[in-house]
Amino acid sequence: MSFVIDFEPLGTRLMCEEPILLRDAASRAGVPLKSVCGGKTTCGKCLVRVSSGSALSPVTEAERLLLSEAEIAAGYRQACRTLASGVVSVYVPPSSLTEEQKLQVEGAEARIEVDPLVRKFCVTAPPATLADPRGDFDRVADALREQSGVPLLCADLPTLTQLSAALRAGQWTITAAARAGELIAAEPGDTTHTAVGLAVDLGTTKIACYLVDLLTGRTLAARGVMNPQIGFGEDVITRIEAAGKDEITRRRLREIVIAAINEAVTDLCAGMGLTPADILEAVLVGNTAMHHLALELPVKQLGVIPFVPVTARPLEVKCATLGLVAAPGAYTHCPPPIAGFVGSDHVAVLLASGFGRDDRTRLAIDLGTNTEIALQARGRIRSCSTACGPAFEGAHIKFGMRAALGAIERVKIDGASGEVRLSTIGGKFPVGICGSGILDAVAELLKAGWMNERGRLNAEVGRRGADGTGSEFVLAVASHDGGREVVLTQKDLGEIQLAKGAIRAGINILMEDMAVRPEAIDEVVVAGAFGTYLDPFNAVRLGLFPPVPLSRFRQVGNAAGVGAKQALISRRARDEAARLAKRVSYLELTLYPGFAQRFAEGMRYPAGRQPELA
């Protein structure tokens, strides 16, 4: 009886025939699990958490020496002692992996004027005496108005608490952080030379955190972490469903995401010689579901048509309310969503890509589990969202994986000789294939004539699938040094076709609705991590993108992160984001007449398409 072991968040799967130790399964699946003691259950490094499945050997005494009762109750096990004999899903914490996963967070930056909402002022207040018993806050407010002309009208309780201590520790000289008349932090002495903010792009699959210098606008440090909500569901609808079950689950969904952000932030700060209390302001962007879940807003109405958010206004929430580590009175600014699931992350992409600022005809495609598309033409901007699924991130593909060590990322096929040339991340032997590799492979198969326009693998180059059905194409042969055989199955090709069809349908519908032809598009902005690594030539060749000359493509990486940072350091950018959100008109794809047909057409591969260079 064969069964599948699923390793998250890497997204790698292993088919097993017999009971197997999780440690061995990880090794066979190419999951780089740590092992200092070589499997003797003494180092505790191969820590994993079983998220589903019960066909496991019972907890051993050796494990009880390493794990607490609470951890065992939560499903934690040592992989070297756990025997799986049935379907099981295992979460591998980053700390148990030997190498970091490649989590691309950088994006193309644009220089903008630094003009943050929070500003720091050094102020010296006269000491309290019997003759001048003014309250701490009042004396500081008076001094600040006199010395800098800046009004201070209020402060919350945690900030007031920090103020009193700071005044005395600094012997009546403090640095006050002021935000629109509110005191949000007070530190002893003069710390005006440093001001730090946090920008967060809360993705369905990946969270990107950026520490930003609020004086210069420069990014100080960045980190990408997997969104732990994946344990509750891969897609937003499933998470919304979970949140709707009960309040405890809804709270948990918020808590785990905030905890993940806090952990990343604490690490980033430590690396810079800072502490989270130095963070004076935060900006959070994400699709509407992620936004609502992080703020613990009701999501039931968001999970059914017409997919309505609780508000489409920008929000200011105290970091303390959210549970985000920061200065005591710091705020988190949440730019507004547009409509449906098209959220503030899309607004951030538009902001960073220069939408709304000129007359150029621009197409923006933010590739991800949900791909958002925007088209600007003749003074109008329309956006739509396609739930194309994570096929281009490696999910639902037999040997698919996220971009990590051993993932095939480039494929070239010589149609004449039949040779397949691969390159993998880290140059190591292949253990699977990631998004850019999948795109290349399909484009090369099409070019070589080994896959037809309908997406069917040529029987001559494929071979019968291992399970007897369909056919599969061998990309990499198993090798002695641990390289796995990696294949692309007919079913995999179908998954990719579905994703491609959804994305292309969205693009085509927007272009049709706004009467824009491919030649008229001045610029195509491709955002998202997968967007950075994909080869636009192959994307056009496959029909994923319309036939716009390649010189007009701009791959901008995590543009949502860039936009979030812009909203953090600039009041003007923040206002522009709010205006953009209002200006963009949302198009609900599935209600567009002929959507099913556009979807089917989008799934077909164009015959002999040769992309133009310029």
Partner: protein, 209 residues
Amino acid sequence: METLKTAIVEGDDRLAASQAGEALASGLDPLDVLNRGIVPGIQRAGELWQTNQYFLPDVVLSAEAFKAAMKSVEPRLKERQRASVAKRVVIGVVKGDMHDLGKGLVGAMLTAAGFEVTDLGIDVPLEKFVEAARSLKPDILGLGAYMTTTMLQMKRVIAELDQQGLHNGLKVMVGGVPTSQEFADEVGADAWGKDAMDTVRKAQTLAGG
């Protein structure tokens, strides 16, 4: 009729629509157009799908061409009694859900298999399903949902049918990506359709035909 059949097999919705229109305009019996042109076309597409020569994109295009042809033929069919041997199926996507594709495939394949299909559309409220069960007296009611947030609607529809005594002769089937056999059992359905082809097989078993 050959051209109409081919148009559907090839997934050419414009040609299918114009061929069907021309056929009716030239005085051909709508039932003939259905049985000799449309049904053979969608049947062929179904066969190709079953033998792994057609994949989802091809079938979707054929289903769209089928829909386009039926648009002119269907209203004319109502004017005549269809052969009473045909089993009646009513299908619809539950309230809160607007996913259309799966339903389109199921409708097309059921018609190909000889069922008389009435499509209630998307975002169908409970009352509309119940009313259809009462007035159209179908042999089978098919419910579709494509999101985990809407699939529980099916439980309510079936409970209401039970309560109003409409679930006696009527068989209820459920389907859609998030559904499963366990789910079907849980909500009180009589059968679960894994995909369009499976739905047709199960419907044929349920209708005893």
